[in-house]
Structure formats: structure tokens, C-alpha cells
Amino acid sequence: MMKFIRSKDTRWLSIWVLSTLAVWIWDIVFLNKPALHKVFNGFFNTFIIAILVVVFTLILGWMVTVLLHALQSRTNRAPYLAVTFLMNLIRSIPQIVGILFAYVGITLLVAGSVITSKALVFIIMAISMSLFIFLELVDLMRDRIDHFTKLDFYSAMRVCGIPERRVVNFDILWKNSRLHIQNKLIAVLGYAVFLQCSVDFIISVGLSTEVNEVTLPTTLGSLLAKIDSKQDILAIGYTLTHPGYTGHLFFEHLQGMTVAFLIVFSLVSIYHIANGYAERHRL
């Protein structure tokens, strides 16, 4: 138990889970039922999408890394250059712009009844987000492959007749880079939550709120953009000049406060978990 708490990553994981539970209990007691339901849905949807982003980032990242490695060793360099060129292009598009346009596209598809299943909306949202995130994982995996191919064990394994795909996929990426990949995926989870909330907030504030409500699932970002949540957040500013009002925040402005807390505290916790994980495994 002490070991569990002493490690920064597990300690922060416990803090995150326990704090979220404490907030839920507080909300069950003091927040009205419809708002509680919305906040629960928003939290659940946000993390389902973020976890899907992690899964798709891993799949895409692994596939592209292996593809690039295979193309790199070919004598014909054109396909390799084409793929790296495309990757650099994706890198040059700010993620928020790419994801925003993807979400607008999804909204139109849902509004036009081309997509009707909620699960499919989740999957498409996650894929479109992972398209702009997976490059970080590719960079990490390629660095690891480059590092290990310079070591003797790579040549030794090749001389022993072990196929290159097994050396790369199993010996380098799975056996020797799994912890690095896991650490990156924890960071990706945090980034996915941040981007998800930001894009949903922007769409809900800037584009038509009614369309968004009908077409896209409720997330913490879209909940924060609702007028009642915004008023709750505005109350924090009022508290800065009227400290006596602080107590009201935790009873009368609970919806906005809960959503803002869940976003910010989740981001901080995931950041500390990723750092702690790297420290524990000396990455």
C-alpha cells in the first residue's frame, strides 16, 4: 500500500479517482437531478471518446511506424518521401483547426442523417482526433527503432535469421519500448480530453448550439458552453471581489463548477500520472 502511494503516478491516480468520487457524492447531495445527469453523461462521453482516441492513436501510430520503417529500407525512396511529406503536412495544420473542420463535417453528416448511430459518431470523432495526434507516437516509436537498430543485438538477431518484422514489432517495440509507448499514451489521453473539450466548447459557443445539441454527444466542453454553466463560472470572478460569496459557489453554481473542476483536475492529474510513470520507470 505504501509503495502504491509512494509512486507519483499511482498516488495521482488515486487522488484523481478519489477526488472525482468526492465531487460525485457532493453533486448527488446538492445538484439537481437533470443537471447531475447531464454532468455524468458529459464526463462519461468525454472519457469514452478520449479512450477511443488513445486506441486509434496506438493503432495508427504503430501501423505508420512499421510502414515507414519498411519503406525506408527500400531502394526506391519515393514512397518513403511521399509518406513523410504527407505526415509533415498534417503536422503543419494546427490540431484544433483540423479537428474543428472534422467535427463540422460530422455535424453535417449527422444532421443529414448519413450517420445515425451514436457509437459511430463516437468512433468517427475519435478517429478524426487521433489523425492529428498520432504523429507524436510515430516520432517516439521511430526514435526507439533508430536507437535499437544501431545496437549490436539488432544485427545479431538478423544474422540469426529472425525476420525483421519480428525484431521491430516484438523485440524493439513490444519488449523494449512498451513502457515508453504507454507513457506517451497517458499523455495522449490528457491531450485528447483537452482538445475534445476545447473543440466542443468552440462549436457550442461559436456555431449553432441547437445543431450541436442534436447532432453531437454532450461532453464536458459543450456542457461548459451552456449558459447556466457559463454563469456559474462567471460567479468565480464575482467571488474575487466579493469573497463572502465563496460559499455560494459550491451550492448554487455547482453545475459549472463541477464541469470546470472535472476538466482542469483531470488534465492536472493525467499530467502528473504521465510524469510519475516516466519517473518510476526511469524513461
Binding site: L89, R91, S92, I96, C197, I202, I233, G237, L240, V264
Partner: protein, 356 residues
């Protein structure tokens, strides 16, 4: 460097061509849609000379139709009604589009360029401040941790002091991780959040940019400090203390200085080597920063700013304007990439002493 520059230029050319092609397709598609809409009216002949707001002219049209098709009053009535209904719809559509539909005129391009210059200045300011903030925070944290490791808290007051510092650091981390819109809406009632100064400040402290990259720089410092040359330098009597007010330590003024130099201290070498590694992450940081600025402008609905305008034009389906704005943002990212590659190349030349 030449090959990298070539790759960047090829990327710029490719995206410019792709987006201009998209612009062309959009223009053609909207022209076709407009023609399709007008085609409905064409079957009635040229009626542009009729003022449909004038009841006399409307009655005249009805009479003309009745004279043209005598004895078919029912058909003529429905034809007349269809024409009037079409004209009313056309008028209503025009009225609705007057405030929202915009094309890509010279005036609009100048307006967009003005907004872009504003965005670019904010971006450069935030980038410079973040570059300074990242290094300062990381160096301060490194020195503080070293001090702490060298002199563990012995007295109760020291322990309390450290706990207070840790608590404040925790609160600071919470603030630095706040998305820009949470901070901005929290203080909107008390402060004017639509100013450039506030935007720059928000760009620096929010969205986790500063803390993420300060942590990256800190890990570079830690990794460097574990290398053999540091031990060698300490054995050879270089200064290696981390107190802020001692002769062999690191003065606060050096940490806060924009050009950080720690002469005679082993940390000078640790810092320089860590900064070299940090340079390669600037591209990523710039992209993240632009994402943050876009979020700030869009989420806070700051009128007259490039990204808010892009969101507005997207809502009004003025895609030609949106394409130009995306192109400008893309150029900003590419310019930063080229500049970063140049910095890395210059540093490489310094250490490798080659003319690659």
C-alpha cells in the same frame, strides 16, 4: 538545411495549390447552385422590369398572363402565384444573406490581412514570452530541487515552509493547466478580457503550454546533469552549488535574465546542452501555441480577430474567406518551422564546425 528548406517550400506550394483548387471548386459549386436557383425563374421569361412591390404592376402582370393565355384562368392564377411566391422568396433570401454572405473582394482581403498581422504579432509575443518562461521556470525548478536534495529540511519550520511552497506550486500548476476559456470566463465580470494584453497573458499562462514545455526543459536539464562530464567538471573544481546567494551558487538575476549565462558554474554547460535539445521541440510548441491562440480567439468570441472571424465565416458558409484564413495560419506554422530549422542548423554548425 537546403533539403529541409526545399521540403518546406514544397509543402507550402502543395497546400497553397490544394487550397486554391478547393477555392476554385467552391466558387464553381456556388455559381452552379445560383444558376440552378435562377433556372426556376427563367421558364417565366425575363421579368426583371417588373416591380413586384408595386400592386399596380402586379395586377398588370396578371392581366398580361390572362391575355396571353385566354380562357385558362385557373392555370393563369397558379402561374401568377408561383411567380409572386418565387419573387418573395428571392427577396427574403437576399435580405437574409445581406448581412452574412460575403465574397472574397480586395477590401475583404485587406481586412483579413489586417487581422492576420494582429494575430501574428500576438503569436510572436506569446512565443517569445513562453520561450523565456519555459527556460526560467525549468531552471528555477532544477536549482530549487538541487538545493532541496543537498540540504534536507531539518527543522519543523523549514518543513512547513516547504509544504507551503509545494501547496502554492500545486495551485500554480492547477492555474497553468486551466483551459483559456475557463480562466477568461472566471474573471470576465471583473476585467476586460477582450484586450490584446489579456490575450497575450492568457496565451502564455493557459492551456498547459508553459507547464508542459517547462517540464520538458526540466527533464532535459536532469538528463544532462546525470552525464559524466558534469562529474568531471565538479572534480575539476567548477562551481556546483545551487544556493541563490552564495559565491559558488546560481544568482537569481542570472535565472531571470532573458539571456541566461552562468559563468564559471557547471550549470552553464548543463543549460546550454539542454537548450540545444529543447530547440527541436520549439516546432511542436509553436503548433501547440497556435492551437491555444485559436482556442482563445474562438472561444472568447473576440470580435475583429482572425480566428473568431474564421469561425463566423464558417458559420455563414463563406468558404472562400475561410480557405484564405486557413492558408494564412498554415503559412505561420511553416514560417515557424523554417525559423526553428534554421536555429537548429546554426547550433549544429557551432558544435560540429561543418558546413552541412
Amino acid at each position: 538545411m537546403k533539403s529541409k528548406l526545399l521540403e518546406h517550400l514544397a509543402g507550402i506550394a502543395f497546400v497553397t495549390f490544394a487550397l486554391l483548387a478547393a477555392l476554385w471548386v467552391i466558387t464553381i459549386a456556388s455559381g452552379t447552385a445560383q444558376r440552378k436557383q435562377q433556372a426556376g425563374m427563367e421558364r417565366f421569361g425575363d421579368l426583371s422590369f417588373i416591380d413586384f412591390n408595386n400592386p399596380f404592376e402586379r395586377a398588370l402582370l396578371r392581366d398580361v398572363i390572362n391575355i396571353y393565355y385566354p380562357g385558362r384562368s385557373d392555370r393563369n392564377d397558379s402561374l401568377y402565384n408561383a411567380i409572386v411566391k418565387y419573387k418573395q422568396k428571392e427577396f427574403a433570401d437576399k435580405l437574409q444573406e445581406t448581412h452574412v454572405a460575403e465574397g472574397l473582394s480586395l477590401q475583404k482581403i485587406i481586412e483579413i490581412l489586417g487581422m492576420y498581422v494582429n494575430f501574428f504579432i500576438i503569436f510572436v509575443l506569446v512565443m517569445v514570452l513562453t520561450y523565456y518562461g519555459v527556460q526560467t521556470m525549468a531552471v528555477f525548478r532544477f536549482a530549487y530541487k538541487k538545493r532541496r536534495a543537498l540540504s534536507p529540511a531539518s527543522s519543523a519550520s523549514r518543513k512547513i515552509q516547504r509544504m507551503v511552497i509545494d501547496f502554492l506550486a500545486g495551485l500554480g500548476t492547477l492555474l497553468l493547466f486551466c483551459p483559456a476559456y475557463v480562466i477568461a470566463y472566471s474573471i470576465r465580470t471583473e476585467f476586460n478580457t477582450d484586450t490584446v494584453v489579456f490575450m497575450v497573458l492568457l496565451g502564455v499562462i493557459s492551456n498547459g503550454v508553459l507547464i508542459t514545455y517547462a517540464n520538458k526543459f526540466y527533464s532535459f536539464l536532469v538528463a544532462e546533469s546525470r552525464k559524466g562530464y558534469v562529474d568531471t567538471a565538479i572534480v575539476k573544481n567548477m562551481n556546483a552549488g545551487y544556493r541563490f546567494h552564495s559565491a559558488d551558487g546560481i544568482p537569481i538575476s542570472s535565472i531571470l535574465n532573458p539571456v541566461k549565462k552562468f559563468k564559471g558554474h557547471v550549470f552553464d554547460h548543463i543549460f546550454r546542452n539542454a537548450r540545444f535539445q529543447y530547440l527541436s521541440t520549439i516546432k511542436e510548441q509553436a503548433s501547440f501555441l497556435i492551437t491555444g491562440l485559436i482556442i482563445i480567439e474562438m472561444a472568447l468570441n473576440i470580435h475583429g480577430h482572425l480566428n473568431y472571424e474564421m469561425l463566423r465565416q464558417l458559420l455563414y458558409k463563406n468558404y472562400s474567406i475561410v480557405v484564405v484564413m486557413i492558408l494564412l495560419i498554415f503559412y505561420t506554422v511553416k514560417m515557424t518551422d523554417i525559423f526553428t530549422d534554421y536555429l537548429i542548423h546554426r547550433e549544429n554548425m557551432k558544435y560540429e564546425n561543418t558546413n552541412q
